[in-house]
Symmetry: C2
Subunit: 112 residues, 2 copies
Amino acid sequence: MNDLFVHKWTAQVKKGILSFIVLSVLKDNEYYGYELIEEIKKHTEIEIAEGTLYPLLNRLKNEELLTSKWVEQESGIPRKYHVLTKKGNDTLQEMKKYWVNMNTSIQKLMIK
Amino acid sequence: MNDLFVHKWTAQVKKGILSFIVLSVLKDNEYYGYELIEEIKKHTEIEIAEGTLYPLLNRLKNEELLTSKWVEQESGIPRKYHVLTKKGNDTLQEMKKYWVNMNTSIQKLMIK
DNA sequence: ACAAAATACATAGCAATGCAAGGTATTAAT
DNA sequence: ATTAATACCTTGCATTGCTATGTATTTTGT
């Protein structure tokens, strides 16, 4: 069994998938960073590190796929909430098409 | 529509998926490089460049997931045939499990 | 006859991004 | 008082597809 190879491979898979997952989890929702980590873990069993998520959220924001706002708390650190833009939703639809097509191909490959 | 973003994104998706696809296409088969490009295109509609495939085949060989042999032709350039090793097959099973689990999660995300 | 395309394999530099590690700050738990 | 949890942030490293370029031989087009 090739643990190291598969571990590196899953990291590469995440490089492709994480932005797609983040946009999908945010669709019709508004989450702050730490909460998003919890949601992603709940929905996909992927454990995404903060050092991965925050730069990704910033990149998606720079691409105008989502917007962010700070919300003060009664006590404690302010939270940065994220929500998809129209552009984000549209881009997500494109990604879904690509994903479904790709996955159909791979399903066929696995069956044969 | 976010053409450039989606284009870059699909390149990142490929970084995760290509080794999986190559191993899947090679399962129970033996192909040479150029032929593999054709098979992958046929099965997935992905157009993989030679400059991508040959280094990938070499990496997979270095990981002992496949073996290669040169076969002289009646005429023309010798062909380098590739076939999965036992280790390659076992690793492919691990990758399939991961993929199925990941895809199930994403399907649920897309439905909601 | 010659040029272009196809076939077949190869290499290098660049761009993109998850990961690990480290950082700040505040509150809660021990 | 210390540690852990919560919440956000930054950086350098490792990995790999892509593009461009290269070699070689045969086939196809002009």
